[in-house]
Structures are given as C-alpha cells and as structure tokens.
Subunit: 183 residues, 2 copies
Amino acid sequence: MKYCSDCGAPVSLRIPPGDNLPRYVCERCQAIHYQNPKLVVGCIPERGDEILLCRRAINPRYGLWTLPAGFMENGETTAEAAAREAMEEANANVAIGSLFSLFNLPHINQVYLIFHGQLLNADYAPGTESLEVALFHEANIPWDELAFPAIQRTLRYYYQDRRNGTLSLHLGDITSSAPSPGK
Amino acid sequence: MKYCSDCGAPVSLRIPPGDNLPRYVCERCQAIHYQNPKLVVGCIPERGDEILLCRRAINPRYGLWTLPAGFMENGETTAEAAAREAMEEANANVAIGSLFSLFNLPHINQVYLIFHGQLLNADYAPGTESLEVALFHEANIPWDELAFPAIQRTLRYYYQDRRNGTLSLHLGDITSSAPSPGK
C-alpha cells in the first residue's frame, strides 16, 4: 500500500497513537488502513469411498491437484463459500457438512477452513480454474502432485480418521510454503 | 475505497474480465482490490467454575460485557490472536485450547472464532479497552448486558455443553446485529 484508498494521498507505515503495531496511515486524512488475514475456505467432496480433486489451471501451482477451495467473499458464510468454490472449480453440487480442519499460515496471512462435503450427483466438470476434476480412491491420491501443504495435511488427517473410524476437528499451523515430502 | 492504494488514481467498481463479482479496479494501473471477510478471534477464559468477562471501554457497545476477542492480525495464528486479545483486554495469561465456536456474520463480513481457554493465574486487570474485568459464575452472567450476539450464543452453548457434559464445536450464522432477547 502506497496511497490512501480514501483520499489518494501517500500513506506512511507507522504505529498510530494507542496502537502497538505499524499500520498504513494517511498523512492527509489520517485514515488508518488495517490489513488482516484472509480466509481460504473449501471442502472434501465425498462420493462413496471417493473424493473429488481439481487439477489447477491457474498459478500458483498450475497443473497440481487440490481440493476445491478459495478466498471467502464478503457477504457469504463459510459454508456458502465452500459450496461456491466447489461449483466454480468443479461445477460440483456439494452439501457442506461439519468443519474438518483449520490451518493457520501466518507467513502468508491466511487461515484455511476445510469442511466435510457430500457430492450430490456425478455432474461435475472442470470450471475455468481447473484443467480436470476427478474422483479418487485413497490408493490413487496423487500425494506428490498436491498443490498446497494445507491440502496435503488435510487429506492425511482425513484418511487417518477414516481408518480409525473417528471424525474430529484438526487444528494446525503451517509455517512454510514448501510442500512436505511425499505421503 | 475511492483511490488505488498502489498508484493513487481513482478506482471504479466493476466486474473484472473472468470474474463474477464487482471489484474496485484501478483505471490507470488496472490493479484489482479484493475485499474479504475479517476474522474476529477470542476465547472463553476459564478458572474453575468461573469465566472471565471484560466490560468494554470502547465503542461499539461501550459499557457492555464481552469475552476477550478482536480482529486477528497478519503474521499470527488464531491461537496467538486469542491469547493476545486476552492479554490486551484483560492482562490475562490464557492457555488457548480447542476451538469452541465458529459464527458467520455475513452482513458485516466477519467470522468469529472462539476458543476454550484456561486462565493461568488471577493476575488479570482491565486493559485500555476495558472498564473492568471480572470472573463470573453461570448464575451471575450479565445476559442482558452482553455486547454482541456471537458472544451471547457462544456462552449459551458453553453452559449447555457444561450441563450436558459434552464439549463440541458449534457452527452458526448470525444475520443481524441486534442482540437476541435476554437469556
């Protein structure tokens, strides 16, 4: 941020009176421009023993596989965001269930929320941000071609829970963008 | 938003190519300025059978009671944000536990996350944003003087869970800023 979005004057990065963190402050109109983490919301679309993954047609991580997920928009709920992303990325009708995982990515100011989801029919197809979408059994999950560490961690916990017959909420922190090795 | 925060030129509200929602777009440098929901993160600080509430010294809802909670900052995790808010608002050392509630407030573009917390000692005191801080038994909770619907709903679920001997994650939507009536 270089200019005030309220009045167009240059901003400075400084600690406002009564605050304890540097903020972008307008030197003309004194507006304080806070910057906060963004929510990335998605789901694990289940159909029987399979789940739906999308192969990315956009950067970052073009060509790698991911769960349908993306930035939450103003005016929607987290469940609405998760359903919308499944529709946008995979033309998939998904009934969003309980929250499965929350991952903090403080180095990139993101919080991932991934929900359980039930794929309501087989009429899925790649959206404009996907090269292909496909159902996968656990044995065929492309572990070495997953796009993001938060997705890899989510899927690991998911299959661990399925094996254990438990379904719990998973909280965790991811402090590097490097994918962790293999399965 | 009226001006581009990258170059200072006026912005227009329009749907960029390939998008489906109106965004603030710079007519000079073409930057697209997305706006997304903010996370409000807090905790229920427990000490024995009591919980710690703060009486607000700031607007909105000056003089009303709330759990320590506030906007998550860049560079921190949700648990760090919850612990920081307890320290800022109540000078309270709290060990943050599991996630207790997630409330969507789509009309004001917020998502509340409230965690369980253990108050580690009795050295609490009002921070600059609190008039007073105090421990409350369930019988003394000021139900009609709670600041926010999300806090009221969280505390209702909390005592319901305690009575039932269960502790589950509560998800919900709050679509109005009006406090719901009484207890």
